[in-house]
Subunit: 124 residues, 2 copies
DNA sequence: CCAAAAATGAAAATGGTTGTCATTAACATT
DNA sequence: AATGTTAATGACAACCATTTTCATTTTTGG
């Protein structure tokens, strides 16, 4: 069975509290705010382990910063407002199927996909 | 009409030569290799201007580095091998239509999409 | 030709992320 | 409890893409 250390557990529960995506820096600040003396390095290391164990997913914000979220929730994508940051979760089974088909067609294995939509919401 | 300076023109033709995506650093190296004394700062500035003018597109590599390409070529996506970097261009009109529909459904305007597939090719 | 504006590049600053390394916590074995 | 072994930790420095600063050069319009 996979071992799971204290830091990893703290990060998982913080990600649960957040409910969606959070950057390493944000997670670090949240933990510090709770009086936790955790170091930034440890946050990065724990996130990397969780990635290796496929407990969390990662995606990139438009500015390149890495965002992490818990896997397990139904896989979905996001429609993000470029201006105010409003995020709508969208389901996209048709995209999943398309990605699968493309992967098979080109004999690729272990294919993951990044699908993110960026635009301007009705208010902006 | 939009002005276009020397550096921007150099970058456009370099991007044409490359034919696909290239990072700012790669473009810089290519130009230097051609004996061009251009500075890295200028490369970044020119790319930013071309982005503003919607002459080039940007996407993020898995490690967060920004990749630029000329717009105008038929819009397509990529299937990239995580291990050896082999890239297959894929066409995805079904994805385009899906993105359009989602955008409309949520009253978003000017919606662009990032769709990239990462996996392991048959050789790796 | 000249002055104002735009462009340039070297160098420093920024900010997210990763590497180093000495210290500490956890845990199994006497 | 005392010991030795191993994993985990965090302060700090290193890294690297990108941005900012600023003094200098080039371009442009009059």
């Amino acid at each position: 069975m996979r071992t799971m250390n204290k830091s990893q557990i703290k990060l998982i529960s913080t990600l649960e509290r957040v409910g969606g995506f959070a950057s390493a820096q944000e997670l670090y600040q949240l933990l510090r705010r709770d009086g936790d003396g955790i170091g930034l390095t440890t946050v990065y290391r724990a996130l990397q382990s969780l990635l290796d164990d496929k407990i969390v997913d990662v995606l990139r914000r438009e500015d390149g910063e890495a965002l992490y979220r818990l896997c397990g929730e139904a896989h979905h994508h996001h429609l993000v407002c470029r201006s105010c940051g409003t995020t709508v979760e969208i389901e996209g089974s048709s995209v999943e199927r398309w990605a699968e088909a493309v992967a098979k067609e080109h004999y690729f294995r272990e294919v993951g996909h990044t699908v993110e939509l960026f635009g301007l919401c009705s208010k902006c």
